[in-house]
């Protein structure tokens, strides 16, 4: 015979526990209901978590494009700020003919010397 069957007071205990479960107040039932819905919501696909992704991607691309469009002209007009008073033509010529370095200046200064040297070599060859 089962140990539980030997003790009749256990049926009374079971009935009392059933009654206490049925007597749970409305506020607690409401919280249980919210807890149940929240637990079940874990299983549903999170649509609201993904809908904004394409929009965010588009916004980022737009911002990047805008940055390039704004930044590129600013960069190209930067020499104007560095040399105030010069016109657009001067800017274009400065971009087409950049300022030569120190070595190029020395070469132009010694051009006559190189011409003389060349002439001397030709005379010695002739």
């Amino acid at each position: 015979m089962n140990e539980l069957d030997r003790q009749p007071w256990i049926d009374d205990a079971r009935a009392l526990l059933d009654e206490s479960a049925q007597a749970v107040d409305a506020a607690s039932l409401s919280r249980l209901n919210r807890a149940r819905q929240a637990a079940l919501a874990q299983r549903r696909p999170r649509r609201q978590a993904t809908w904004w992704l394409p929009a965010a991607g588009l916004a980022c691309s737009g911002a990047l494009l805008l940055a390039i469009v704004v930044w590129a002209p600013l960069r190209s007009t930067h020499p104007v700020d560095a040399a105030p008073g010069t016109g657009a033509a001067a800017v274009q010529s400065a971009e087409a003919d950049p300022i030569p370095g120190d070595e190029a200046f020395e070469f132009y200064q010694d051009l006559e010397f190189y011409a003389w040297l060349d002439a001397q070599e030709q005379e010695s060859d002739g």
Partner: protein, 203 residues
Amino acid sequence: MTTIASILPRDFPTPASTADRANVATSRDSTLDRFLKAIERRALRMAELATGSREEALDLVQDAMFGFVRHYAEKPAPEWTPLFYRVLDNRLNDWHRRRRVRLRWIDALFSRDRDAESDALAQVPDPADPGPLLRLAGTQAARALDSALTALPLRQRQAFLLRVWEGFDVAATAASMRCSEGSVKTHLSRALATLRRKLEAHE
């Protein structure tokens, strides 16, 4: 009263197409909802008896619902009840462990007179005796039972509630409590002896 087993399908069909999968998922969701709704009151009372606080009990049942849905929702429906109680039992154990750490110094106050529990003759019930609850009236009996159950050690209380209230057999109780069947029998035997003694003291 609707039993939990009566609302559960034996199992869900294997879905063949995407539409079938969606239908099975919806069907499983609604069955899960009904299952949790059927078990939540008992779970709340069990947690309340374990913690002595309705607020703590609500938090623990909510945690158990989340853990159960996350880990076991895809298991066959007939296995849900012991699995749910296993999750709840884990939460209750964790809660008691944390409480023990916080209130270690109070442990001495709760020490039991183990000599009476270990007396085998004292635990043998008298079949002719109607029992202590019958001698108490209405709300007094309910209060006495609550008080006696709350005072039980966690494992003894869980063994009693799962075996007596939930109607689990020894194997299902052992699976829910993650212990051996022998331990369940020992816990239950001690719980019955202690409850009987405490309820008689209320008379």
